[in-house]
Symmetry: C2
Subunit: 422 residues, 2 copies
């Protein structure tokens, strides 16, 4: 079984002007990874036919599968379909199945079919038509004479995702067989990347040559990722990686908050809240709703998430959360004392088992609270026990908000450990 | 003055496994765009020396500037520096300025210098050292014999951003001169891409050949982007694009919410709130803090944003916002009646001029409220006037949350227009 290699080409001037984040390529690579297909390169090019052709030529030199997104819309700047028809020397014809689906979709939205909608049913006859259930631009599947595959998908993220998950990944799996790629994660927090690397240097040097180790630092955390191709089964390889990781637990165990999968911190906390039948109320001043968003973005959050308050104006800390005005006056809005009163007010007013509060100076200016940019106080209330901690973060607003969320989750994790709420 | 072309290479297996979103390339391209440098391609490759070299070879065939991010960390999987030293046939030596800075930074964080920190001061002697004020990995600037430039930066986003803004963009501007690229945006909402394209077809065909038009659809909106290289001054080109856009205002004016810059919807609203001296309070059920996050992510939001509540549990709609239990019982949690009471409760309890409320079924399951996934009711309270609207959105949770935020902002915009709060 030979390794199957993919290359991804994203098309669109908006990517090259830096006007949008190209989230599509990440999604496509992650989907391919789950079925053992490695992405050798992700490329973004402009929506000129010549650039698309050049990128495709280069990709087909080394990849077995080329996945293209973008440029399948109905307007004049959408050239992917015509470029591919030309590349594969294929006529274009109205595909009746596509036309019926597009008509149906347009009319269900209470609109009339127009000529541009109709043109979206024009398909290269050499391509297999892949129905787009959630949009008007179909996907296309070309096979080269060498058995390579070129897939074109629309660039609208939710359409591309739907097509990948429901049609293309299954069809790729039917067409190619590949050994699974196995990842094992060691998620750490509170230790610098270089310190971590030195602590586990001997162990790293002892890793077998078919195990690749990567250090992935982000927002106060370092993830270690061990990767190996599964020569036998996925389970056997996973167990081998797990056994290898066991060797470093005595050395770095206290920094580890999760082993195995790469799930997000908030998912770990959510799972633990559900397991322990605990509920959560938030009081977010400096994080301004970002922490609530992390939880509410996950399906099923209403199982444990009661609600939140964002008392941006100091008076709301009093009126919504029952913080004492004298606490604000004596210790300041950004203080551990205020954070604790906010957290307990959140828990009590929402009848939750746990309250988390953030108050701080996200930046870029220090504001009126007399503390420096990056000063963040986090308060916790867990079934009547209270905790607070002050952090000195960075000087970039966005980073401070992200970091404050992570620090809040981590404080909760540590205290739940101490209280044996695992 | 010839056009200056850049190519960006992002290095890291985590990108190719689909484990992180590559936001760095977007930032770099957008920065280059502001100084008139076009990105011809963005490429992501693995952290193998051979892949980096191949990508660099290919990039230097056509680009004047190659910007590389990633692989400059202290660990064994960081190979960029060594690969570049080899590529440019350069010795590596400890750079004393770098060493002093790294020592200072590490010790200021209360840690001891270790061997890996020290190795970060090892620099290719043929490269110009670019100090990284906010991290331990310096950037590097190589000049080829043909006058091309290769820049390597760390992949940590806030370090890369700091280096681009403070050191590299100024140095690139000194080294290359390029005609500015001018963009002019027409931001529309409430009209489908194909309908829009048909309405302005004649106008599109009449555009001069040096003006490129793009359609950028996203979350209920379509942005039109006109792009032209400034042959004379930036102002002259901007005025030409503006005059051209004036021609379509009679046709599509009612769908346009902003002309000129590409600023985000929430920035437009924030600006209008400040101009009109209005304050805002939120009550977010189905958006779960996402709308508050949009506002609080912007510096200066405390000028108009009083606060928010996230009454996830229905009882909080009563206790925090004063919604009548009978309203919930009669009309349901997801109803226009509830949305209006939430909005007025938010405004009144926070003493704000405007209250916005969201309540709906984000998905993926319908939950207990008897409405289908994607049903979202938005309520508005503006100085005593109330409005509500029901939207039938999509079936994807993340998309529904994003769309509900956009719909809320748009409702506010329309009502502010009607009330002449422009």
């Amino acid at each position: 079984m030979k390794e199957i290699i993919a290359e991804i080409i994203a098309i669109g001037d908006e990517i090259l002007f830096g006007q949008i984040t190209n989230t599509n390529v990440q999604f496509i690579s992650s989907q391919l990874d789950t079925i053992g297909i490695s992405t050798i390169s992700q490329v973004a090019v402009s929506d000129l036919g010549s650039e698309i052709t050049k990128a495709l030529d280069y990709a087909l030199l080394r990849a077995d599968i080329v996945l293209i997104t973008g440029g399948l819309g109905p307007t004049k700047d959408d050239l992917t379909k015509y470029t591919l028809a030309n590349y594969f020397d294929s006529e274009l014809e109205i595909n009746n199945e596509a036309l019926a689906h597009i008509t149906n979709l347009v009319e269900s939205r209470g609109r009339q079919m127009n000529e541009l909608n109709r043109l979206q049913a024009l398909q290269p006859v050499k391509a297999t038509y892949i129905k787009n259930e959630v949009g008007t631009a179909p996907a296309m599947w070309f096979q080269t004479t060498e058995g390579k595959v070129v897939i074109a998908m629309p660039g609208v993220p939710f359409e591309m995702k739907y097509l990948m998950e429901n049609s293309l990944i299954p069809k790729i799996k039917e067409t190619f067989t590949s050994k699974p790629i196995v990842h094992y994660y060691v998620k750490t927090i509170g230790i610098a990347e270089s310190t971590l690397a030195i602590k586990i240097e001997d162990w790293e040097n002892s890793l077998p040559s078919n195990v690749k180790l990567a250090y992935l630092p982000s927002y106060g955390q370092v993830r270690l990722r061990l990767t190996s191709v599964a020569d036998e089964s996925q389970e056997v390889t996973y167990s081998l990686l797990e056994a290898k990781v066991k060797e470093i637990l005595p050395t770095i165990g206290k920094y580890i908050y999760h082993l195995g999968t790469d799930i997000e911190f908030e998912q770990i906390i959510a799972q633990r809240l559900i397991t322990n039948n605990l509920t959560l109320g938030l009081a977010e001043s400096c994080t301004g709703g970002a922490l609530a968003s992390l939880f509410t973005a996950m399906a099923g959050s209403s199982q444990y998430f009661i609600g939140g308050t964002i008392p941006y104006h100091p008076s709301l800390k009093v009126s919504f959360l029952g913080v004492n005005q004298s606490t604000l006056d004596t210790y300041g809005v950004v203080s551990e004392e205020t954070a604790i009163e906010m957290a307990s007010g959140a828990a009590k007013n929402m009848n939750a088992n746990i309250g988390i509060a953030t108050t701080g100076v996200a930046g870029p200016t220090t504001g009126e609270y007399g503390k420096g940019v990056g000063t963040v106080c986090i308060g916790l209330w867990i079934n009547g026990n209270t905790y607070a901690q002050t952090f000195n973060l960075m000087n970039v607003r966005e980073t401070n908000i992200r970091l404050a969320c992570i620090m809040a989750l981590n404080m909760l994790r540590i205290k739940m450990d101490e209280l044996k709420l695992v």
